[in-house]
Symmetry: C2
Subunit: 341 residues, 2 copies
């Protein structure tokens, strides 16, 4: 294994100074004669030279990486987001550093610090716990885009998705189907989005919604925690004998688990219980019954987030469209008491 060629090697071989070689590769306006260009190009090719990004970064202090922190890549909503991010990022010459926080606060902080040390100038957070303090980062030139704009983080930019309306749409749908009492199954209300969905539901059902909050938060690395949580909690509710005919899950993955949990008890969805999710991940149309849900376009969200963080980094003006929640009615919801029609 021989050493990598450096800009100096190329300069020597081509018979020009490193400055000229640097300019040739920078390809910004600075003029380089065609004679020089030809010789440098040739030398670089023969030496198999390609610029060392690290050297460049040290000097220019401009990383072209953006950090992305998500709870877990096993919930397919996040791969969607990630692809959107990658798409926008790639087209603007940025690459992503992926971090799975596994919903663990300490891991999240560790990753944020590590990104900071790597001179990353922008982080997209999809994992943020409320009140996690980033103040110190802000002052140090770090930009943050929070996928769910969180009031508690004053200087974070956010993609504004109307979770509240999402919750309202779902609740309205169930109400239309004559469901009198419903349950909302969720992980802890430590994220604004979850609180908002609940608020939306309450705006319709007032106190006739049973909120069932899971007590555990940290993700396991094996198995899909949300799915299992859905199964477990659906079972708990049904066995508790509460008069519930509809369940809204905080996301599709949980919703899929809820359906499974209900069916495992020998009951029918939606005959006995209607179930709805949130996100509209691909899975929701693959399972049966297919899942009624709110479409939250992950890919689009990702694209938006990436463009936003890059605009922040590059000091451009930012101004984007909102993404609107859309109700997707599928087979998992039906009239209350529908089985006995």
């Amino acid at each position: 294994m021989h050493k990598r060629a450096t800009i100096t090697d190329v300069a020597e071989k081509a018979g020009f100074s490193v400055a000229t070689v640097s300019r040739f590769f920078a390809d910004n306006g600075y003029p380089v004669s065609s004679d020089a260009s030809k010789k440098i190009e040739k030398a670089a090719r023969e030496l198999d030279y390609t610029p060392n990004i690290v050297g460049r970064m040290l000097k220019t202090n401009s990383s072209r990486d953006i950090g992305v922190i998500i709870p877990t890549i096993r919930n397919p909503f996040y791969p969607d987001v990630l692809l959107g991010i990658e798409k926008s990022a790639a087209s603007r010459g940025y690459q992503i550093l992926l971090c799975n926080s596994m919903r663990d606060r300490e891991t999240e902080i560790k990753y944020i610090n590590s990104l900071y040390q790597k001179q990353v100038r922008g982080i997209i957070l999809a994992s943020a716990q409320n009140n996690l303090s980033y103040e110190n980062l802000a002052g140090k030139g770090m930009h943050i885009v929070n996928l769910e704009s969180d009031d508690s983080c004053g200087f974070c930019s956010g993609i504004d998705f109307d979770y509240r309306l999402g919750g309202r749409l779902l609740a309205g749908h169930l109400k239309d189907m004559n469901h009198e009492r419903i349950a909302f199954i969720t992980s802890p209300l430590t994220k604004k989005s979850r609180q908002d969905i609940l608020e939306g539901i309450r705006s319709i059902y007032k106190d006739r919604v049973l909120t069932v909050i899971d007590n555990r938060e940290t993700e396991d690395e094996t198995g899909i925690y949300e799915y299992q949580m859905g199964m477990r909690m659906a079972g708990d509710i049904l066995k508790s004998g509460k008069s519930i005919t509809g369940i809204i899950a905080v996301n599709d993955m949980t919703g899929a688990g809820v359906i499974k949990g209900i069916m495992d008890l020998g009951l029918d969805v939606p005959g006995d219980i209607s179930v709805a999710g949130f996100d509209n991940i691909d899975l929701s149309s693959m399972i049966s019954p297919s899942l009624t849900t709110i479409d939250q376009p992950g890919f689009e969200t990702g694209k938006l987030a990436a463009n936003m963080i890059i605009d922040l980094i590059e000091g451009n003006e930012i101004k984007y469209d909102r993404l609107e929640p859309r109700l997707i009615i599928r087979a998992s919801t039906g009239k209350a008491g529908g089985k006995y029609d």
Copy 2:
């Protein structure tokens, strides 16, 4: 936004030389007096100093990033792998740079180059097309672990998963269920794994297996291509009137699509046609009928791959266990003609 503190700032504030500060943070054997340690620690804290990885990398030429290239993160098998990689990597102080090739050769090459420029010393490839030439990289100190050991890449290390045996197990299972003629649905045989699965199947079915190869390869960014491919091709086969009673799909995602495609035509799985997949992703037990498949432990594979690449980078000896394929029988396979029993 004020400037980040550098090692020099800390040195001045603490009243020691940068060398000592550097040693304090390096925390390798070099002795630093407790007096110095205390003062440096204090100064660093007050200045909110944290080492600049870029500066360090330039000097030490040792990136602690490893590149991971996968076809698409939308097939949940890869998130599993990725989590495994992240787990091992994190525990050894490495971080991952994620790249989705979208099964596009050019994108793959672009990413590889970009990783090389970033001084990454090791890449885990899950995307490799056969014959993609990495020779030039090898000579430049880049290590490569190919998730499917590919003979055509002499110097790549690989995780040895016995795809052939996997194919054999599935075929054997169908044979046991009296299926006379089956089909194998796959994307192009440009990966060794796919060829091996087919070989395994053929070792049992000889020429009584219809191999249906999809012609498109590049991934779309929206929708899960493999799922749609499965749907489409299942439809094609059935409409062609071939006397097939069992279908093996190249992976679970495709298999899920196959089941959907069959059911959309009003047929029953496994009553009319048995279907099997490969991978054992979570999805395969969530759909109905649940999918018979081969368990390929993605998480374990990822852990192995990460340890391997890091051992290669650090010059350690490498020696690992093989992962064995395991047949998982679920509801999507049954006796040939089972519907009419």
